[in-house]
């Protein structure tokens, strides 16, 4: 019996069936319900960065596209609630916002693992959110000025390199500090600089020689210029891959070998897959969540959005909600022994 005339129709029916199953209810009725719900409503994007910042720029741009892909085409309002490394917005979303799917949080990746390190006092639990996805993958690379003693990757293990860094618990300090212990690099880390601008100024005046920069940070025009002119060079990727455009530069896979070290180091790099996580509070009805996730996936792949971001050198590397959820799950599966070491790395020691 030939129920379906062609493959396309079969595909369409299968997709509909799967969509229907994923909503755990008959599709047509629910789809209308979702559309009806969002029609004429306002959806709030709660952005964990100040208005006018790069993150805000991305969020507002994304919001425009999200509106057109979302069922019912709700109006989207962007509100900024910066503070405590995104924790203000995260906690507000989890505890105080309505759970009907009209408030969406633009959070930061440290929100995924800092609560695990700090315990309940952090005021937020990433498992209490349902994730729509993330817009960016983060990777770190070690860069140094060309006038420093360290010229090659091999030099990192024989000559000292003075690094600038921001806060004590920031990845730009923790990652190189771990490498000193694990693979014998000779970084001397000076932390306490306010932000990347101050670190680069310190590099230019010779106060420090380099720092652990995000790979995306290397495409920011002034830094890109330094790289193009040869005043700055990339020495080592602080991950297990060598992403473009520096794919010739070695990464940690040839250095970081023992399983214990790998597990510990991975704790810090795991959340980087979900560099800009976007979520809604638990309790948003399943059909609305599915519609929100679908709108996220479509907006993040929208050619207009991608070209607008490319024009500003912002590298979009989206992952879906399931992937973010997996990151959170993996983080929370970290062994107690590793967690002890993580806490030791993120909190200061008494001076000798």
């Amino acid at each position: 019996m030939k129920l379906f005339k062609n493959k396309a129709l079969l595909g369409a029916v299968t997709a509909t069936a799967m969509l229907a199953m994923s909503w755990l209810a008959p599709a047509p009725a629910r789809a209308d319900a979702v559309e009806d719900f969002y029609k004429g409503k306002s959806v709030t994007f709660l952005v964990s960065a100040p208005a006018g910042s790069l993150t805000d720029f991305v969020a507002r741009n994304f919001a425009e596209h999200f509106k057109s892909h979302m069922a019912g085409h709700p109006n989207v309002v962007v509100l900024n609630l910066p503070g405590a490394g995104g924790m203000m917005a995260a906690a507000q979303l989890q505890l105080k916002e309505v759970k009907d799917g009209t408030v969406i949080g633009f959070l930061q990746r440290n929100n995924l693992y800092v609560p695990l390190v700090e315990g309940p006092k952090s005021g937020f639990d990433p498992r209490e959110l349902q994730w729509l996805g993330s817009l960016e993958k983060v990777a770190y690379a070690m860069v140094a000025m060309n006038n420093s003693e360290v010229k090659t990757t091999a030099d990192l293990f024989s000559k000292p390199l003075i690094l600038g860094a921001t806060g004590y618990s920031n990845e730009n300090r923790t990652l190189p500090a771990m490498l000193n212990d694990m693979i014998g690099t000779k970084f001397k880390i000076i932390h306490g600089y306010d932000a990347r601008g101050e670190v680069y100024l310190a590099m230019e005046r010779g106060e420090v020689d380099g720092w652990a920069s995000t790979v995306a940070g290397l495409t920011i025009p002034d830094t890109k210029q330094m790289l193009d002119q040869g005043r700055l060079k990339v020495l080592l990727h602080l991950g297990f891959e060598s992403p473009a455009p520096f794919d010739k530069v070695p990464n940690l896979s040839s250095y970081l070998k023992t399983p214990e070290d790998k597990e510990l180091y991975s704790f810090f790099t795991r959340s980087m897959v979900a560099g800009r996580p976007i979520g809604v509070p638990k309790g948003v009805p399943a059909d609305r969540l599915a519609a929100l996730r679908k709108a996220f996936d479509e907006s993040a792949a929208d050619p207009d959005f991608l070209s607008a971001m490319k024009a500003k050198d912002y590298p979009v590397e989206a992952v879906n909600g399931a992937a973010v959820e997996q990151v959170v799950k993996d983080l929370y599966a970290t062994s107690d022994a590793t967690m002890l070491k993580v806490r030791a790395i993120m909190t200061a020691k008494e001076p000798k």
Binding site: Y168, G197, D222
Partner: protein
């Protein structure tokens, strides 16, 4: 590089001016200036909000017009903030606190117009000097900035805090207590050096530290408003000058003190170039400078001396020019607003760094010209209006006070958009008012608040990087020597006049209830000191030093006071000099003062409760109406009109234009459907 000398630069600057002076660019510069002026008028919001409003429009604009508009907004919002500072003693922004001291006194004398006009004339000159210094210095500024490393920055911030001794007036020990209190408050939050959370009480709100705006509004604005409510009369009975005459007098004042303007503007421009030294302290540092160097200032400052208005006003505007130096030459923003300006610049395709000073020099000069023209436009507009604004000071207090209270409340909420801001405003309002009433100088508190953490951070970087060697750098030794002189010379003068014996009290013992302020400060410091002892060395060393100093200085001052023989026939001679703060100028009995102050703060608590129950915006008209009816039986019609007008204004500016996540109210919890209808429920 070769064309960057002599005529080359002038030619480039000329080209830059011509390219800016096209009508489609100047219009945007004008528009930016207007937005900046309007935002500056409102306490609690300023450049940051302005950028949030304007930056999204700039993405599709011509780059020169876009940056002219942003710079116009940025440099003009420190001009209009002078108006509420002079007229009501409510600084419209962090940059105009020092102006309050003499400006408000002049208003009370009926010289508000003169003060404003002097402020604007000196703002204009200061802004132009700042732009000029920047324009001249830019081509050769990179080597200069590169020669200043973290230890030199550290020394400069120490120099700033040494001004505490001058800004404490005749009560140096109380000033020390206030400064250390400020430092301790500034250290609340996550410590950069160790990741240690200091005194955060497990509140997310305190993790980034207390936002500065609610603290400033509490310490400086609320006490003035409270005293206005206690005095129950207009700020001034009659205007001393006619509108035009007052304005003319202000211009003459500014030009008579041209050398003071020159000095303060230069200091302002240099301070502006140091990242982290915001205009919240620049105004106090130059005020201190004027106080030390101007003839007779140690007697007349704080009593309505026009020089006390001129000095901070010109310096703050000049510092805007200085602030552009690290931004353009190195991509280092001076603060949060600068960071947004920077990202807007990069979106427009300008890359900060050497290119701005060579290949893109013309663009850079366009920015310098934008700054200069914005100063001319902004100051001219404010100047023209200053005489009219001065008339507001003769209005009945019940017409203006409740609306200003509402705006400070909403302004404080912009600190971090959280309930904590509202509590912070109220707590620091009480502290500020008590300090003002009992003659504790407040300026040192602000100096400590801003500079304390900066010193801690720079010190940590310096020792981490250079060990103890940072102390031997010639620049550092020079600046530290100057700091020591600034810090110790007031003490030296006393000792030279009276000998060491002059420092000892020789009276009989007495206790007064006002001594409880010491108990408060010392108690808080002791608690903070004990808490800090469980932390890592690098996280506790700063707090231990500040809290220890506070306790020692406070105890000495208290003991001196207890044995000063006050109230007896033969009290110990008071130290000479001025009281470095505003004085409450009513002679009401203490009981009346306390009752009316309680009423005033009661209205703020009403505001808090209203926000919690029915939402912030609906509370605004209720509170204004309640105040006007209950305090003075103002006519219903007038009260309703003002209440609704203020609500509409706040709704349009904050809800519609800025977009603020309001705190949720109980009403919204009970009837969620109201949320879509009434804003902020």
């Amino acid at each position: 590089m070769e064309h960057i000398a002599g005529f080359g630069v002038l030619e480039t600057a000329g080209h830059a001016l011509i390219s800016l002076l096209s009508i489609d660019r100047i219009v945007f510069l004008w528009f930016g200036v207007l937005v900046g002026l309007m935002l500056g008028l409102l306490p609690g919001i300023g450049g940051l909000t302005g950028f949030a409003l304007l930056v999204p429009f700039t993405y599709t604009m011509d780059p020169i017009a876009a940056l002219a508009m942003l710079l116009g907004m940025h440099s003009s919002n420190t001009m209009s903030d002078t108006i509420p500072a002079v007229l009501f003693g409510v600084p419209g922004g962090a940059a105009s606190q020092a102006t309050v001291l003499d400006g408000l006194q002049m208003t009370k004398r009926g010289e508000g117009g003169r003060a404003l006009s002097a402020a604007y004339t000196s703002s204009l000159i200061g802004g132009l000097i700042g732009a000029l210094i920047m324009g001249i210095a830019l081509p050769s500024v990179r080597p200069l900035v590169l020669s200043i490393a973290t230890p030199e920055l550290l020394a400069m911030t120490i120099f700033g805090i040494a001004m505490v001794s001058t800004l404490s007036g005749k009560t140096p020990l109380r000033g020390m207590v206030a400064a250390c209190f400020g430092i301790l408050i500034g250290m609340i939050g996550t410590n950069v050096q160790t990741g240690q959370m200091r005194w955060t009480l497990d509140l997310i709100y305190l993790r980034d530290g207390l936002p500065i705006m609610p603290v400033l509004l509490g310490v400086f604005a609320l006490p003035e408003l409270c005293d206005l409510a206690i005095g129950r009369k207009a700020l001034t009975d009659k205007l001393e000058f006619s509108t035009r005459k007052g304005m003319w007098q202000g211009v003459k004042d500014a030009f008579a003190h041209w050398f003071l303007i020159l000095r303060c503007s230069s200091i302002g421009a240099v301070l502006g170039a140091i990242p982290g030294v915001s205009s919240a302290v620049t105004d106090w540092i130059v005020y201190g400078h004027a106080l030390r160097t101007e003839r007779g200032a140690d007697k007349s400052f704080g009593t309505g001396d026009v020089r006390g208005v001129i000095a901070p006003e010109c310096a703050v505007n000049a510092s805007e020019g200085g602030r552009l130096v690290p931004l353009l030459a190195f991509g280092v923003p001076g603060g949060a607003a600068g960071a947004i300006l920077l990202s807007a610049m990069m979106v427009q395709g300008f890359i900060p760094g050497p290119d701005m000073l060579t290949r893109n020099l013309e663009l850079t000069y366009t920015l310098v010209w934008s700054l200069a023209l914005a100063n001319v436009f902004g100051a001219a507009l404010c100047f023209v209006l200053s005489g009219q604004f001065a008339k507001i000071s003769t209005l009945r207090y019940t017409l203006i006070l409740p609306s200003i209270m509402a705006v400070t409340f909403v302004g404080a909420f912009q600190g971090s958009r959280s309930w904590g801001d509202l509590y912070t405003l109220l707590i620091f309002g009480l502290i500020g008012w008590t300090m003002k009433r009992l003659k504790w100088p407040r300026p040192p508190l602000i100096l400590g608040l801003v500079l304390g953490v900066l010193i801690e951070r720079y010190l940590a970087i310096s020792t981490l990087r250079y060990g103890a060697d940072w102390l031997t750098r010639p620049g550092v030794m020079l600046i530290l020597a100057a700091s020591a002189w600034v810090m110790l010379s007031p003490l030296y003068r006393i000792v030279r006049r009276k000998g060491f014996g002059g420092l000892l009290p020789r009276g009989s013992f007495s206790v007064q209830s006002s001594d409880l302020v010491y108990v408060f400060f010392i108690g808080i410091a002791a608690w903070m000191l004990v808490e800090a002892q469980g932390w890592f060395f690098n996280a506790r060393i700063g707090p231990t030093f500040a809290a220890g100093t506070l306790i020692v200085a406070g105890s000495i001052s208290l003991i001196w006071l207890l044995f000063s023989g006050r109230g007896s026939a033969n009290p110990a001679a008071e130290e000479e000099g001025i009281h470095m703060d505003l004085l409450a100028d009513d002679d009401l009995p203490a009981r009346t003062v306390a009752a009316r102050a309680a009423q005033f703060f009661g209205w703020y608590i009403f505001f808090l409760a209203g926000t919690a129950v029915i939402g912030l915006i609906p509370t605004v008209p209720l509170m204004i109406l309640g105040y006007m009816r209950a305090e003075a039986r103002e006519p219903w019609k007038l009260s309703v009109a003002i209440a609704l007008g203020a609500m509409l204004f706040i709704w349009i500016v904050f809800d519609r234009l800025v977009g603020v996540p309001w705190p949720h109210s109980l009403l919204g919890e009970w009837i969620p459907s109201l949320r879509g209808v009434i804003p902020s429920v």
